[in-house]
Symmetry: C2
Subunit: 244 residues, 2 copies
């Protein structure tokens, strides 16, 4: 694939492939995947198929996908640095490299850290992104939850290391609260919502559109932890739907 | 179009068509538009083409689109009630009606108010939605803004009637702030960001993917008001990109 005689400049596009259902790719994402010289998917091991690859295999079976290993044993920085180094030859050869990523490439994506690592080597690297449907949008659709109406607010927080941000966010009753990366703390989140009177309409989903998907009220899901990529939506408190 | 002898139950699907670029429709949205018995687009007058219709005309030119007038002179409730009444015959006849909406149908969309009005007539109406790319995602992509990384938070607020929610949200320097419906108050938003030291990296966009689109730093856009559908992204304060 290397083209040492090519005068083209390499470029990199982060392509959001949505949360799981291959039907949630956009036309723009499909066009980029079909037009790129190389399509790269993150994985934890060369013989393991990551989630983004699973989605692209279904949405665009004719597109060859190469795996790029992010070593979960190494530090985050070392892992991204090693991954970046593997992409440098293709970019130096002038290839258009598409990197597929779950959800949206500008929202909690490995893609931005990979770009940081690459720019330490190629400061003026040409980078673009293609937006993708985020997990909470698919959860709202599947669960029939109106996330925001009128002048309501949204707080999108994580609960990777604890539920402090969730506790703070749910104090605002006019805000919908979306929690990402909170699977491990799901029982604690369920208790918090219950105590704050925010359980009504709160839904939990994981692996939507992928094998093993789950979707249920948080009040029925809080008895055990869920996966890293679990999503929770807590709708705003709506006493009576004002429509005037 | 009425099928009085049909045993089917009518159903309604809210289809998100994204912010403007017809390439941002998902495969699922296109499938629903092609399969529905009727595709309805909101408009302010029968002889005016709304933005959602403009997008669908390009993304799926072969799909016939019917316009549904939302009377901007009437109260919101009266306007939705009148629109709902026009859809009732098709739903009673068992049609699958697709209603197209800018962005995502569960985030600040007319669709949820239309459903409320319809359910006053048909309490058990079957309703589904198809998620759509939101304006801020396209703005982030086009402007090269990483919205969220690590454990950063997002506050999505409106500024329709004033900038109080914006002022509160930007106090949290670890939060990205997205402002919708704030075009009229753009100069005031620009001043707020400047005063709070949050101007760096803040971008403004309107009509992205549609004729007349604008995209610039807020600091250069704050000299006059923008349209109703303007979007602002204020990234979190990032002293030094932590990657460890």
């Amino acid at each position: 694939m290397s083209r040492p005689d090519s005068p083209r400049e390499g470029r990199l596009t982060g392509v959001g492939v949505g949360p799981g259902d291959p039907e949630l790719l956009t036309t723009r994402a499909l066009r980029v995947l079909h037009g790129a010289d190389r399509v790269i998917a993150p994985t934890t091991a060369l013989d393991a198929i990551g989630r983004a690859e699973t989605i692209v295999r279904q949405a665009a079976p004719e597109v060859p996908i190469e795996r790029l290993v992010f070593d979960m044993g190494a530090s985050r920085q070392a892992s991204h640095e090693a991954a970046a180094e593997q992409l440098l030859p293709a970019l130096a050869a002038g290839d258009h490299v598409a990197f597929v990523t779950l959800g949206d490439p500008n929202v909690y994506s490995t893609f931005s850290s990979l770009v940081d690592a690459l720019r330490r080597h190629v400061p003026d690297l040409s980078v673009e992104t293609v937006p993708g449907i985020m997990a909470f949008q698919e959860l709202a659709s599947r669960a029939g939850v109106v996330v925001l109406d009128g002048t309501e607010r949204l707080a999108l927080v994580t609960a990777l290391d604890g539920v402090a941000d969730v506790a703070r966010a749910i104090e605002d009753t006019e805000a919908a609260v979306v929690v990402y990366k909170g699977g491990r703390h799901l029982p604690e989140i369920a208790r918090l919502l219950d105590k704050a009177g925010r359980s009504e309409g709160a839904v939990f989903g994981e692996l939507l559109g992928l094998p093993g998907e789950q979707l249920k009220p948080v009040s029925e899901a809080g008895d055990q932890p869920a996966t890293y990529l679990a999503t929770v939506i807590v709708p705003p408190v709506r006493r009576e739907r004002s429509d005037g």
